[in-house]
Amino acid sequence: MANSKTDPSSSASPRLDKSTVAKVAELSRLKLSDAELESIAQQLSMVLANFEQLAQVNTQGVEPMVTPTDLTLRLREDRVERREPAEAFLENAPDRSGNLFKVPPVVG
């Protein structure tokens, strides 16, 4: 099933440069130091170079599988249940004001 035309491992492909990694970090909402960006760029390039062997598998017409068992989702009765009190959740808040989560201002 090897297909040399679509096998990127045969071409020189330094996959992730620092600017791409910086963009991905922004999408991921991760503030990373310069040193972290460097090392992630290098490590993920190695990982992706290895993973490009996947291109060798012929997957034409194969439906992607997103969950491993043949699940049928069941409906349940829509009823109100009293579970844990709000206070139990609020106790974990980094900042709060009375019965509310306190967050920084988001509109200027």
Binding site: R29, L30, V47, L54, V62, T67, T69, N92, V103
Partner: protein
């Protein structure tokens, strides 16, 4: 009085219910062991300060003549990825260092309903991401068989706590091998159940289509007993299966005559440690002597299991871990630019997550991002289906598949920490069962020249865990690996 340190869960449960020993005595015994041994091992992130009170409650119920379940008074260690109401749950991450869950995972609730005592929470690779337990924000865990070696991961603390007899069993979770690999490294019976067998409610999500919780125990019977307690449909997890749960522990049979054991030749073609190969061959011989039939099976695509697994798992993780934003719970940065919400998210996450978690969020975000989705996430999901189909075909020719768990026994602390790719490739034998949703089990089968335990892996079709327990019980009796030696710490 019975020797609690070397008793099994079912023996202790019976003795507590027959009031030959109190749950409080059992709990004190194991808390004392934790106090003495854990400073050297580092298996626990939190010891349950209410364990003794919970045990007293079990004793009080028994005194009133109430029925208490099969795990009455049995101390079980819980991976710190499962929420425990009122008891700190960290995922071994700085970002959740002070998180107190308002509710318990279904697994924890079912164990407690069966009378078990949650003795403490065990260390893991942060969010379950790792194979050595070196990625914990609270320090690495030592292998009780030799403290220079890793206990495996990500359920390394769960494995070490039981190997050192600081608990009689533990709960781990397995996304790509995180129950089976540490079980192999620490000489335990560890089972990753069929996807959907055990509720994921209250388990901090890593990769939702792969994660399953399961027992890590000192005997086949204990693993079976705990699995039957924690299994079954739960209305708070829509992916938990509506499939009846057998009385696994009552049905164990060592009749393997005529059972077809599949040997995937692609697995045996991988480069592996000579001791692993020897122990695997000895397991096969033991089953053959009992009349099992050996069948060669083909699984040519499993050689792609590691890339498929890491692309699927990191993609799901990048989405699951988006919830850690420092708003309602978890770490919130004090160093963000005032008034800049994005900077607050990024700073909180940058400070709160460790290096491996950051790497995986980045890999997953990249694999899902516009322009790369087709080549990575979608491609991986397609190959995932082909891998599952291969297993379905293989199971028309055999009843159980046998393979090594890992290419090597436990490795030394620090040896692979700077080489993520080498660490990932270590998961070659375990990841495909998660991708296909199959049950997989690690069974103690022998030792390396250095005296480290080595397990053998058994796999079965969906919901056929009973077959694994039958084969495991034969290997337990005939190889005797679980009983022949003890870790140096005990």
């Amino acid at each position: 009085m019975m020797d609690l340190t070397f008793a099994t869960c079912s023996e202790v449960g019976r003795a507590v219910r027959d009031r030959k020993v109190s749950a409080v005595e059992v709990t004190r015994h194991f808390l004392k062991r934790i106090g003495e041994l854990d400073p050297k091992i580092g298996a626990f992130t939190t010891v349950n300060s209410r364990a003794e009170a919970q045990a007293a409650d079990v004793d009080a119920r028994l005194a009133r003549g109430e029925a208490v379940g099969p795990l009455a008074g049995v101390p079980i260690a819980i991976k710190d990825l499962l929420c425990t109401k009122g008891l700190r749950t960290t995922a071994s991450s700085k970002i959740l260092a002070n998180f107190i869950p308002p509710y318990s995972a279904t697994v924890v609730r079912r164990l407690e309903e069966a009378g078990a005592i949650c003795i403490g929470k065990t260390s893991l690779d942060e969010f379950g991401m790792g194979s050595s337990n070196e990625n914990s924000a609270f320090g690495s865990v030592k292998n009780p068989w030799n403290p220079e070696y890793v206990p495996g991961g990500s359920s390394g603390g769960s494995a070490a706590s039981v190997a050192a007899r600081m608990a009689l069993a533990s709960i781990g979770t397995d996304t790509g091998g995180s129950i089976r690999q540490p079980s192999s490294f620490c000489g335990l019976f560890g089972i990753k159940p069929t996807y959907g067998r055990v509720s994921r409610y209250g388990i901090i999500a890593f990769a939702s289509s792969l994660d399953q919780a399961g027992p890590m125990a000192l005997s086949t019977e204990d693993a079976a007993l705990i699995l039957e307690v924690i299994s079954g449909r739960c209305e708070r997890d829509s992916t938990s299966a509506d499939v009846s749960v057998p009385q696994f522990s009552q049905q164990i049979s060592d009749q393997v005559k005529g059972l077809r054991i599949g040997l995937p030749k692609q697995y045996f073609a991988e480069k592996m440690d000579a001791d692993v190969e020897r122990v695997t061959r000895e397991s096969i011989e033991a089953l053959k002597k009992r009349g099992a039939i050996l069948v060669d099976v083909e699984l040519p695509l499993v050689k792609y299991a590691v890339p498929v697994y890491y692309l699927v798992a990191t993609s799901e993780a990048s989405s699951n871990l988006a919830r850690y934003d420092g708003m309602r719970f978890g770490h919130r940065s004090k160093n963000a630019t005032k008034g800049d919400l994005d900077d607050l998210y990024s700073s909180s996450r940058g400070e709160g997550f460790g290096p491996e978690v950051k790497r995986r969020i980045m890999l997953g975000t990249y694999a899902l991002s516009s322009g790369y989705y087709d080549a990575y996430y979608q491609k991986a999901s397609q190959v995932r289906r082909l891998i599952r189909d291969e297993f379905t075909r293989a199971f028309t020719q055999c009843d159980v598949i046998l393979s090594p768990v890992c290419t090597s026994p436990a490795f030394k602390i620090g040896e692979r920490i700077n080489d993520p790719l080498a660490m990932y490739l270590n998961d070659i034998f375990t990841t495909s069962t998660n991708l296909a949703g199959l049950p997989g089990m690690s069974v103690p089968a022998g030792f390396s020249k250095e005296g480290l335990p080595i397990g053998v892996q058994l796999m079965a079709p969906h919901f056929e865990e009973s077959r694994l327990f039958n084969v495991s019980s034969v290997l337990e009796k005939d190889l005797g690996a679980a009983k022949s030696r003890r870790p140096h710490v005990i």
